[in-house]
Amino acid sequence: MNKVWSFCVDFMLYLFKGGVKYWAWLGFLWIFVFAWVYGNYQQLSEGMIVTGLTDQVSWGLYLANFVFLVGVAAGAVTVVFPAYVYKHKALHDVTVLGEMLAISAVIMCMLFVLNHMGRPDRLWHMIPFLGIYNFPGSMLTWDVIVLLGYLLLNLVGGFYYLYKKYVGEELNNRFYLPIIFIAIVWALSIHTVTAFLINTMPARPMWHHGMMPIRFISTAFAAGPALIIIVFTIIRNNTKLWIEDNAIDLLSQIVVWCLGIALFLTLSEVVTELYHPTEHSLGLQYLMFGHHGLNNLVPWFWASMAGLVGTFLLLLVPRIRKDHKKLPYICAVVFLAIWIEKGMALLIPGSIPTPIGEFAEYSPTLIEIINCLGNWAIGFIVLTLLLKGAIGILLGEVHYGGKSAYGEMKHANDPAHA
């Protein structure tokens, strides 16, 4: 027990050891958190009327970010899968960083769901036995199970690995490997179920097709590794942890193939829907071309398409894909383009037109935007801290019985030694 306690203390204390950049980054994120506190206070006291949502478009930016981030969480598996199934040495060494990313993404998902709910105070109604859990009827209850399960798998898997590394013991593979392999399959399930959440509603024809889960997964496995490449690059440039080139090269290959599949699926959908357009394709038509001057989403759609096609073509060229200076910027475009695709080009037009054919446009309010930015900031703070601690352990700077950060702090604060 002493070891566990020491692990927690040393992990925490290591988070306070950082350079100027580290603190500036955290400070920058905190600005958004302060705005977020105000935004949430407004929304909780006034109700969801402070958002731009209406009865016509009742799912907006919050749910769009949720859907996207489920994909990012699932995308972490692109590190775990090659590491354990194909024994990729370089990725194997940093698997735990992928798990930390998954944990942060799921936490962001939860924040966005809470923002989306009209009565977050009544969340306990969903707790089985205490409240009513409409399982297996309601797809939302499936989503809660898979997301919480995924969070748990990554927490247990990630921190078990870190703890063993910290105390310098061998991993018990009979415990650890099943967690890893279950988590790999589970990652697919979180984005599949999230797709089912919206595509099982015949009332919304734009979403009501069987291609949705695989489209979700293909974009997730592009956005997820794109973010991981950016994170790995930052780690390589700013910490002593060196992540091998071939780890990044494999990830960029995954990005390019998944982008290709995603584009192929999008094109298939466009052809199917628009070759002989029916009323069921009005949502897609509105998204692509607008409708009688209502064209809020049109620029978003084409920007996203341009981003996806452009980055796909660039990444197809090995010379560019392997240029680790340019790659993070291309990945940032991929990440952004898929964020737009999931939100402005999928979730919002699903409600336009309404089931009775009314075209009502939606634009988020400032409060909605600060709440979204705040959720992202909290997620990035969590990610930064988790990565910081994990890297400390991977580097061996934090280990049991060593010159602990805890001891150093005590030393520094002791007036006798000052």
């Binding site: 009742s58 309601s138 809660v144 509603m201 409708h291 209502l294 009775i356 075209f359």
Partner: protein, 358 residues
């Protein structure tokens, strides 16, 4: 529209006995009993009501805070024991009475044996006056003003979508017109039917009207997606919502193919003087912010043998209501003798709201 609204309060409040139709509930005793029971209930609850009134005069905020705190812990309506229901109802009556300054009753009359409510609407007769929509709001305590919620929307359909001058083109003009709006009367171009029309007079030339509201589906998609089973189908076929159990996730709004559900985006605005004090727990009791609501076939009236407010107010008799299990009911006669269809029948939701023409 010269007569914008009928004097609804007079006509609806005392019309209870006159509107009894044996076709609805067979030969059960008419609702005079209900009126008596209502008075009796009020006297037995007078102590609590007085407390409520006292609280109103002294410290209503505190009373309200206490009741809301207790409400927060209450279970789902369907899982409550009779005692718990009684407690919940008394609590609500106390809060509502204090809040609205009148004796508010919250009824819990359950579904009756052998009753399955059904509705039929004659689109040939409807003139698009929207008295139904107005009467509905006054009966069912919806939010007013800039946050107005209407459960009934009347779609104006251009006749056949073919106009004289476009006849040669072989297909209708591209749909709709654009109208302005905000969060509560949203902007948009309407595809199938325009529901913001404001003409000098109804009916308009070359138009017919198709009112919509909750279709009370036998296979309701909204019920299936609700994660906490706060919305469910009652044995008499009405899909209801326990407003105190709703978590506001709006899955049901996404799943409803008829755009029948409304959300309380802010604290509902229900003026004291407009509040209808005869309420049902699952029906027209005042709602709170952050929950979903919709048509319940006026459960507070129909379970006591009265017509829904919209049926009562319709000036052309386009609206028929009754028990689908009673072969002699009006709605059954419509189904037997008229040309009947259901909206979006392809979705297999099996609405109990039928449209017909003579």
């Amino acid at each position: 529209m010269a007569e914008d609204r009928l004097p609804l309060n007079e006509s609806t409040a005392d019309a209870e006995c006159e509107t009894w139709d044996p076709a609805i509930h067979g030969d059960q005793p008419p609702s005079k009993m209900t009126r008596r029971k209502f008075v009796k209930n009020t006297s037995t609850l007078s102590a609590t009501s007085l407390m409520g009134t006292a609280a109103l005069m002294t410290n209503s905020d505190e009373a309200q805070a206490n009741t809301e705190w207790a409400e927060w812990f209450q279970g789902n309506y369907r899982e409550m024991t009779d005692e718990e229901k009684q407690e919940a109802v008394e609590r609500l009556e106390r809060r509502y009475s204090a809040e609205y300054g009148k004796d508010v009753t919250v009824d819990t009359t359950p579904a009756q044996e052998g009753v399955l409510f059904g509705y039929a609407l004659n689109i040939q007769k409807c003139i698009g006056c929207r008295r139904c929509a107005k009467a509905c709001v006054e009966e069912n305590n919806q939010s007013r003003g800039d946050q107005e919620i209407e459960w009934i929307r009347v779609l104006k359909m251009e006749k056949g979508e073919f106009t004289e001058e476009k006849m040669g083109e072989g297909y209708p003009d591209d749909f709709g017109i654009q109208v302005g709006g905000n969060a509560y009367s949203a902007a948009g171009v309407v595809g199938e039917g325009e529901h913001y029309y404001e003409p000098e007079q109804v009916p308009e030339a070359d138009s017919f009207y198709m009112p919509i509201a909750c279709m009370q589906c036998e296979k309701p998609p909204c019920v299936k997606v609700c994660p906490v089973r706060t919305t469910y189908r009652e044995p008499d076929g009405v899909v209801v919502i326990d407003y105190n159990w709703c978590i506001g996730c709006r899955m049901c709004i996404g799943a409803c193919p008829y755009w029948a559900r409304r959300f309380n985006w802010g604290e509902p605005k229900l003026p004291k003087e407009d509040m209808n004090p005869d309420t049902h727990y699952l029906g027209n009791r005042p709602r709170m912010k952050g929950v979903v609501e919709k048509c319940t076939f006026c459960i507070q009236r129909t379970r006591k043998g009265r017509y829904p407010a919209c049926v009562e107010v319709c000036p052309v008799g386009a609206r028929k209501f009754g028990n689908l299990l009673d072969p002699n009911s009006e709605v059954r006669r419509v189904l037997a003798t008229k040309r009947v269809f259901r909206m979006k029948a392809d979705l297999n939701t099996y609405p109990k709201f039928f449209y017909y023409v003579d």
